[in-house]
């Protein structure tokens, strides 16, 4: 491994020397990636894998990708961005929500460099030519994972008539991204088991293994027969394995640690976005202000179904529903499939799409009978509390 690494570095040096001969847009190109943590966090690891895959596909050399790890959400992010510009990066990317305003500060200063930010919300209102947001329609992935969960629930109910269709979900904060995530998951389950109800327990942190474990345990004690989670740690999956409760995961497969309870996991693959921005810049084209990856761009993916835990024919059903999502005949947030306080969602419902200090709802988001998630900006804004989902501790 060490030798391999040094060999790769040596090759990279030789190649970079060789490349000095003929300079073109491609060999001159560099991308900088700013991460909140490093490989130890599954969230950041997902971005590292994304840029590595993209670099491989595009044939970028090692010195064309500069990764800055452990960059705090403060002045440090601006400093890292400015430093990457000094190193000759044509694109600077940052992965954490809290990086956004500091990346914007750099974008205003370095007008000929493109700044791309994942999960952010401000690009479409700031209207800078060189600042862009990106996210993916992960709610579609969650919905598909929900279908798999629904099939499992159905199987459990058939096997034992005493099983009540109540499931649990561990969330981080009552933030639109989380609400959109658990609601789409719930609707996926509901499409198979219409009478299902769900309880959500929040942890008040994006990453807290112990709190996530406690929250999942509390839900199981409350009678939830299947658990899913937004959070990134192994807290919820591991307690599910211990208590033999089926689990639907997020950000990647937990099959290795939870062979008997892991059903399937949805995640965002960032490689397509990295490829897209690199290609646009190398070709001298503009990057979209808001870019939403979808199933068809390869950005929303499901891991392999764990046949040991999942119900029979789960993969077949997932493929079927996926085809419907792809051809547009099925919408995740179809207003016919859910109610709010006993009534269908108003066609005039407003959501907070344009970020302001007071977080005022400002945009009509229901069109043609469905809530148009991630169409007015890439980051999720679905914040409706629908019937059938009970928030156990909405204080967060």
């Amino acid at each position: 491994m060490k030798k391999l690494l040094s060999l790769i570095l040596a090759c990279a040096m030789v190649l970079s020397l060789a490349a000095c001969g003929g300079k073109d847009a491609k060999s001159d190109f560099k991308i900088g990636v700013i991460l909140l943590h490093d490989e130890a966090s599954t969230y950041d690891l997902n971005f590292i894998n994304g840029i590595k895959d993209a670099a491989k596909t595009l044939g970028l050399k090692d010195d064309q990708v500069i990764i800055r790890r452990n960059i705090e959400e403060g002045n440090a992010c601006y400093e890292a961005a400015a430093d990457l510009v000094d190193q000759g990066c044509k694109i600077v990317f940052a992965d954490s929500f809290g990086h956004e305003t500091y990346l914007l500060q750099a974008a205003k200063q370095f007008k000929d460099v493109e700044f791309c930010h994942a999960t952010g919300t401000m690009a479409h209102t700031e209207k800078l030519d060189n600042f862009h947001n990106a996210f993916a329609s992960i709610y579609e992935g969650r919905y598909l994972a929900g279908v798999a969960a629904g099939l499992k629930l159905q199987e459990m109910m058939k096997a034992d008539s005493k099983v009540t269709p109540k499931i649990g979900y561990v969330g981080a904060f009552t933030y639109a991204e989380v609400i959109s995530g658990y609601t789409s998951f719930y609707l996926g389950v509901k499409s198979i088991v219409p009478e299902v109800t769900m309880e959500v327990q929040f942890t008040g942190s994006w990453y807290d293994e112990i709190e996530e474990k406690n929250a999942a345990a509390a839900l199981i004690d409350n009678g939830c027969v299947l658990i899913s989670q937004h959070a990134d740690s192994m807290g919820a999956p591991s307690i599910c394995e211990e208590r033999k409760v089926p689990n639907v995961s997020y950000n990647g497969s937990t099959a290795a640690a939870c062979p008997n309870t892991f059903i399937v996991s949805s995640r965002i693959d960032w490689a397509p976005y990295f490829e897209y921005i690199c290609n646009q810049v190398m070709d001298g084209k503009k990057i979209d202000t808001d870019w939403t990856g979808t199933i068809s761009t390869g950005s929303v993916v499901l891991t392999e179904v764990n046949t040991k835990a999942a119900a029979a024919d789960t993969q077949k059903k997932i493929d079927e529903v996926k085809a419907q999502l792809l051809n547009g005949s099925l919408k995740v947030f179809d207003t016919k499939t859910f109610t709010v306080n006993g009534a269908p969602l108003s066609a005039d419902h407003l959501a907070d799409v344009d970020t302001d200090d007071a977080f005022t709802p400002d945009t009509k988001v229901v069109k043609n009978g469905y809530f148009a998630e991630s169409e007015f900006r890439s980051a999720p804004y679905f914040d409706v509390q629908i019937d059938g989902i009970k928030l156990l501790n909405a204080k967060y």
């Binding site: 040094s6 790890r69 452990n70 400015a82």
Partner: protein, 363 residues
């Protein structure tokens, strides 16, 4: 006595050295750093197969590679030094204040609260003054609570100040939830209360800390307060005997310590982050303890130790970037170097006498 026990004498024994001349002290320290770097270079080659010279180059370029990095280096050094200066008066008094993290964080929170409440409603200069006063006052309050309990009921200040850190962190989480109705708990850069620029955007911050360093040096070494602090630190009984009001000195010194932490919080908000998160201080309140100890509680030496720690930090980050590895190995390198530096202090103050030498001396 020695002639009876010669054959039973241990392999070596340790004795205290007489004060070494300054050049020998410096020599020992330089040798320690050189040895540490050599070991790190060997390890980097064996463990992860990277070119040791390149690693060294990368470490240096992390702090001094470009003009921007030099400014960033000076800025980071100043912030760390500011917090280290804050804990020093308490340490001189042997009051183990490990609550700088919380005192600075609560100071930062106070500044942000002022921006949120008053930003745009009053002139910037007035806002800055209010922010400054709030941060310093709340920092002082956060510092004086453990001091009062220590003075009145002799509570353990180490545990007390440590616990106050967690309380400060959770208060910040609480306010972030209130201030972000969207639920993201992320404020982002606020638009008001920016410290004016004096040439380079970090220059004012750096100058403030430089003045503070000299001021604290004078306060600790040439003022009556400073003398009282030293006496209380050496022996509370002596202090009582010569008529120093120990309780008053403890409380007064912790007010100063807390207030300076609050000042650090104010500087971070008004000059750098313009926001607050639970990670705003980022552990510097704890690193400050090391800076202060290594600097022998002397503000001028502490400038050097802050320089060293900041240099190592930036170097580690640059190694991680240049060799595209996670932060584990660079942290090991920093750990080794710091271990050698702390370890060499032992050889400055103590001498190892081996057996044969001891025998010779006995004759």
């Amino acid at each position: 006595m020695s002639k009876v026990h010669t054959e039973k004498e241990p392999l070596f024994h340790i004795t205290k050295r007489e004060d070494l001349p300054i050049w020998s002290k410096a020599g020992i320290r330089i040798a320690a750093v050189a040895l540490a770097i050599l070991l790190c270079m060997i390890l980097s080659y064996i463990l992860i197969g990277i070119n040791p010279l390149k690693m060294l180059g990368s470490m240096i370029s992390g702090s001094f590679g470009t003009k921007r990095r030099i400014w960033k280096f000076l800025k980071d050094l100043s912030v760390l030094l500011c917090i280290s200066l804050a804990v020093t008066p308490a340490f001189r008094m042997k009051f183990w204040n490990i609550g700088a993290e919380g005192q600075a964080l609560i100071g930062a929170l106070a500044s942000v609260a002022c921006i949120i409440g008053l930003g745009g409603k009053i002139p910037n200069a007035l806002l800055l003054i209010i922010m400054f006063v709030s941060s310093v006052v709340i920092g002082a309050i956060w510092g004086v609570i453990p001091a009062l309990c220590k003075a009145l009921w002799n509570t353990n200040e180490t545990l007390f100040t440590l616990m106050m850190n967690y309380i400060a962190t959770f208060i910040v989480s609480y306010f972030l939830m209130i201030w972000t109705p969207s639920g993201s708990s992320t404020l982002g850069m606020l638009n008001f209360g920016y410290l004016p620029k004096l040439g380079h955007e970090y220059l004012l911050l750096i100058l403030v800390v430089a003045v503070l360093t000299i001021g604290l040096y004078i306060y600790l070494n040439y003022s009556k307060h400073g003398y009282e602090i030293s006496v209380v630190g050496e022996s509370q009984k002596t202090a009582l005997y010569i008529g120093i009001n120990v309780k008053k000195v403890i409380i007064r010194t912790m007010v100063i310590s807390g207030a300076l932490c609050g000042l650090a919080g104010f500087l971070i908000v008004s000059a750098l982050d313009h926001s607050v998160t639970t990670a705003t201080i980022g552990g510097q309140g704890f690193t400050a303890i090391m800076v202060s100890w290594l600097g022998k509680f002397n503000p001028i030496y502490m400038a050097l130790t802050s320089f060293l720690i900041t240099f190592l930090d930036q170097g580690a980050s640059q190694i991680s970037t240049d060799f595209n590895i996670d932060s584990a190995f660079p942290s090991v390198i920093v750990g080794i170097i710091i271990f050698f530096i702390i370890g060499c202090e032992f050889f400055i103050y103590y001498k190892i006498n081996f057996r044969h030498k001891a025998v010779k001396e006995a004759k």
